[in-house]
Symmetry: C2
Subunit: 338 residues, 2 copies
């Protein structure tokens, strides 16, 4: 009736509780044959460790923490996080790890949460998203010695290991594709400009534009919302030398931009080509379907979880570069009208 404890297993196996603990945790201090016997008995009894007891005694909490920024209007819209979480969880649960979620209004509160989690031992490690250049959270985490992995570019990760995808390369692929279609006036609608990955993209955009001699290449920074994307689009398309192609930093803004273009009487892709970064199912639902920079975000999450678990286990971890987002051409891009 009652769930078995290590004491029950110890009695059954005729050893001490300590021996059971060592055996089950793969620690030295018990012979291989006894270990095997103990593990067999534990399985037979359906033993599952009590996480609270383990955490209290200084062991692992078997929980990983993730903070999310309290919804700017985009949350609940950007599919990115939900997909990331889904991938994270897939990996975590195979290792019997839980995912603790907490909304935070800002970085200061986020750091306070980390501090509490750490002194509570309620999480064994955390994942850091949306890093900014010069992000205070990085130092705080290092100081706490809380195992952490950054989901973002190494340029902003400090000493922490990170998992990232080289957005610069993907951006160049997209711009070169547009250039090959004859576009000379290409503009970009970016997300929040203080995010590290936005900076990477902005830099790459400037570089490739210079290389290709695209003199009108501007970036308008927004807040990732549909409204922000619509406003930026309206402004760009109202220019006397309006661009013939637009690149958006997320799918929501691209869809908003498409709608604005159509309202302004422009035909996509005849008058204007559009590319979205991040390819959620919505991109295929609009008309015309959006050409997008796609990648497997759930897999990204899975790899992030794997890296974090390794860091928690005390293994030496180094930053890993994930698969690049690559261009998925659909109906929203076409040759530049001459």
């Amino acid at each position: 009736m009652k769930r078995p404890t290590i004491a029950d297993i110890a009695r059954e196996a005729g050893v001490s509780k300590g021996a059971v603990s060592y055996a089950l945790n793969g620690q030295p201090g018990v012979g291989e044959t006894t270990r095997a016997r103990i593990v067999a008995i534990a399985n037979a009894m359906g033993y599952r460790p009590n996480t609270a007891a383990r955490a209290l005694a200084g062991g692992a909490a078997k929980v990983v923490g993730l903070t999310l920024h309290r919804p700017p209007k985009t949350l609940g819209v950007e599919p990115f996080f939900m997909e990331l979480i889904s991938g994270l969880e897939a990996e975590l649960s195979t290792h019997s790890y839980g995912l603790l979620l907490q909304m935070v209004p800002n970085h200061a509160d986020e750091i306070a949460v980390y501090r509490r989690w750490w002194s509570d031992r309620s999480v064994d490690g955390v994942l850091l998203c949306d890093v900014r250049t010069d992000d205070a959270r990085i130092d705080a985490l290092r100081e706490l010695q809380l195992p952490a992995v950054v989901v973002g570019p190494p340029t902003a990760s400090g000493d922490l290991a990170c998992i990232w995808s080289d957005d610069g390369v993907s951006l160049v692929e997209a711009v070169e594709y547009l250039a090959a279609l004859g576009h000379r006036r290409i503009a970009r609608v970016s997300g929040l400009s203080d995010l590290a990955h936005t900076a990477v993209r902005t830099e790459a955009f400037a570089a490739v534009s210079a290389r290709l001699g695209l003199t009108d290449a501007v970036t308008i920074a927004t807040d990732y919302t549909g409204e922000g994307g619509a406003r930026a689009t309206r402004r760009l398309l109202s220019s006397p030398t309006r661009p013939t192609a637009l690149l958006y930093d997320n799918d929501i803004m691209a869809i908003a931009g498409l709608s604005v273009a159509q309202q302004m009487g422009l035909s996509v892709p005849a008058d204007l080509s559009i590319i979205a970064w991040d390819d959620s199912p919505i991109c295929r639902l609009v008309h015309p379907p959006l050409t997008a920079l796609s990648r497997d975000i759930a897999a990204y999450g899975t790899h992030a979880a794997r890296l974090l678990l390794a860091a928690i286990a005390g293994e030496p971890v180094t930053s890993v570069q994930d698969e690049l987002a690559h261009l998925n051409p659909r109906g929203s891009t076409g040759p530049a009208r001459r």
Copy 2:
């Protein structure tokens, strides 16, 4: 340096550890004046309880559990859950509660997760979403005596308290609006038919159609995905007596339907009116913007959390009816062409 424990507070206050525990937890067993003094000292020392120790000693884990179904293709798309989670968390964190998230492939695994959480004491209660008529999870939860609240209609909640919104009323509002615009052939594209709230809507749709004498009122059940919505729409619009108005059970399907209609050369709303259930920002981004049944999903989550916390606290809880979704007319609906 080290975080203070009740032992530190007890020493400081000149009382026993037990007294501190009683004082801090609002339990009887300590006088009001001593209680006030102890609380003051605890605050001054920056005391925060260790959740692991508390859980181990049989107290509250201060964590609430939520399972999500491993992504059908809709996840990461339907904004509903992200908004719900955001609202949940807002309430939970003001009570120092955490939210533990776990993906599950099916109900059997979900029940196993509840069982584990319960014997672990790793959560104090759970929230149940997407209930089906005759849902095995309800019985399992009652058997475990795990405090739980259903996010869904009382018809499928068994003995559990639920928080719900009367979808039947909202559906009638939408259909009557269409009828007032002169529509006689109205069809509905529903979500998964075994979900309890789908059943509520389907029933209401049949009833109001009969009352208004709309003989062609059919419901096609899908899986909530854009593809499913597109397929259903194509089928409906290919009929010789095609409907002049369509009602979709979520925003994703409505957007897909809009796109299909436009591809088939129909003009919205001149040839076809469209209404979406659940009003995410995307509904305003497409062209024409979608008329939608809106409600504040984050508030819904907040209320759900409040109800669950009351249940956990052992207060008597009864099901509460949340705000109705109401019609938000936009460009996708108009008079029926005669």
